[in-house]
């Protein structure tokens, strides 16, 4: 069936009617937020203790930004590119186990790219492909789920990154796509034991990178989280409202993105904040997670990215400056749509196409048949979906 456009049309009309009023409300909220930013900018001590207070008493899992040393409205430009350096990115993709397919298997594909600018040579590519079949498809807690697979993939990305970085020409700057922490919670169909195992491994990798003093970061292209706004909300709440902190969102609708776009000129970064959240709690000391916003766009088309860094990078001014400069350079390389070139390429290298997926399946099936083993069938559902794809050879 299809959409009932009649119903939709009515609802859209309502949206339209409410929109202008809502807009005005939002404008007022933004004014408020800017004002707060301005007022509280330097009152970092008070803000930090406020957050601690809430975490200790009312919401230990609250997610917000914690200022470190720089004022809230801090903005900073640098173009401190080292004369020689290596930038490395890694990305991964997977073939999830598909019970509709002929063969039951899954695959993790991780790709990395190393680039040294100023040299007349192409970047080096690396790929690592790992197939999981039969017993590999089970962990101690049962069959691999999509979430598990994603975790494993992320972990492998970082491992590849560490491996490449350890042999690269220093100084080395690395990024991965998305936030630094491993994504996943126990409740996401992920057994706690599995998650813990992966987390431990991740922490080990990060420590290794820390030892090597390599700049590690996560690049978030269109940041949606509003950690700084939450911080401002906390500053706004009265003493009496604090206990109900989990339910009160006075600045709801205001977004970090918009806030900082007005603040940061192209190439400028915001203050470095520390991430306050439950999951961030796993990363401690020199691995503690921080972030800053960076305007990677142009005068006529600004664009905000969030860059997450561990503590050893956040604490080192040189690291930060280099990271900022390299990121800006990488984003400019691509042209009108700012995004780090190496991240895009890493993604390309890691990507598994549909054809490749089908090729792998055929290869497995062929091998099984060669040993005179039976191969499963497509599910009826899948077979029906595929009917329309058949084409006869014509020129």
């Amino acid at each position: 069936m299809s959409i009932d456009f009649q119903q939709i049309r009515e609802q859209i009309n309502h949206i339209g009617e409410r929109a202008p009023a809502r807009e005005n409300e939002l404008m007022a909220l933004y004014d408020r937020a800017y004002q707060l930013l301005d007022d509280e900018a330097r009152d970092l001590e008070r803000l930090i203790s406020r957050v601690q207070y809430v975490v200790n008493n009312f919401d230990p899992f609250i997610r917000c930004a914690l200022p470190v040393t720089e004022p809230l409205d801090f903005h900073f430009f640098t173009a401190d590119l080292p004369s020689q350096f290596t930038v490395i990115a890694a990305d991964g993709s997977q073939i999830a186990p598909d019970r509709h397919a002929m063969v039951d298997y899954c695959l993790i594909n991780v790709g990395g790219i190393q680039m040294r600018l100023g040299l007349d040579e192409p970047p080096k590519l690396s790929v690592s492909s790992r197939l999981f079949y039969d017993q590999d498809l089970f962990t101690s807690s049962g069959r691999i789920t999509d979430a598990t697979l994603a975790l494993m993939r992320d972990l492998n990305e970082r491992k590849l990154l560490a491996e490449l970085a350890s042999q690269a020409y220093p100084p080395v700057i690395t990024f991965t796509d998305g936030q630094m922490e491993l994504w996943g919670r126990a409740s996401d169909g992920l057994a706690t034991t599995d998650f813990q195992k992966f987390l431990d491994e991740h922490l080990t990798v990060l420590e290794h990178l820390c030892d090597l003093n390599i700049v590690t970061s996560g690049y978030v292209d269109k940041p949606a989280a509003n950690h700084v706004v939450r911080l401002l909300e906390l500053a706004l709440l009265s003493e009496t409202e604090l206990p109900k902190v989990r339910e009160i969102f006075p600045l709801r609708g205001v977004r970090d993105n918009q806030l900082f776009l007005n603040l940061l000129a192209p190439g400028e970064r915001s203050a470095v904040f520390r991430i306050q959240s439950k999951s961030a709690g796993y990363y401690r000391d020199s691995l503690a997670l921080h972030f800053f916003y960076l305007n990677v766009g142009r005068e006529d088309h600004p664009w905000l990215a969030r860059v997450e860094v561990p503590a050893w990078v956040a604490a080192d001014e040189n690291h930060l400056n280099r990271l900022q400069s390299v990121l800006i350079q990488q984003c400019q390389m691509i042209g009108s749509r700012p995004y780090p070139y190496v991240l895009h390429r890493a993604h390309e290298v890691a990507l598994v196409t549909l054809e490749e997926k089908q090729q792998v399946e055929q290869m497995i099936a062929f091998e099984l048949r060669r040993h005179h083993l039976a191969v499963g069938e497509l599910s009826q559902k899948q077979a029906l979906k595929e009917f329309s794809g058949r084409k006869r050879y014509t020129r």
Binding site: M115, L117, G118, D120, P122, R345, E348, Y393, T394, R395
Partner: protein
Amino acid sequence: MTAIEIGRLLRAGTTGFVVGCRIDQFSLPSFGDLVRVPLDRDYQIYGLIYDMHVDDDGLVRQLVTSEVIEETIIQDNRVNRNVPIEISVLSVGYEQDKRTYHLLPPRPPLSLDVIFSCNPDELCAFSKAGRFGYFRHILRARDLPVGELLAAHLQKAQRAHVQIGNPMWVNDAIQELITLLRDDYAVLMSLLSTVGDAFNE
């Protein structure tokens, strides 16, 4: 010989087939190349490449919008990034038990791993077996750029034949074409002027 690794066989029939593969620019075959496809120990199909489709590359289109392109990025694109292409091949003959035939192959390919670009010796051997019977297949395919395809093929074949000491081959080939097309003025003249351009070095 140059081996072109194939990603997959997309479509195949008695008169030809289409393959998709990723290939770097140094190994790209060219339009009009003769390729051979071994399917069995003693059976292989010969075909002419009549179309190559390079899929749209979003990244390259994006890169050209930047003001300056770093050398390493250029190199990256030239060397590292595989070009996904579709190669369309017209069947023109086959070899069975070491004998070459200019007829349509009895069995089309069902699955492929590799096809080979023919070297000059193989090109000579195929093109001089018989009396240009394989021209029929090309001329029959009126929806292809027949003139261009024949011109490209003749050019390459002539080079190979000159090397083995048979410079009159192209004359014989053109004679045969004239005989086949003597009643079709439009196609013959268009074909001859295209071939004439090709040899007008």
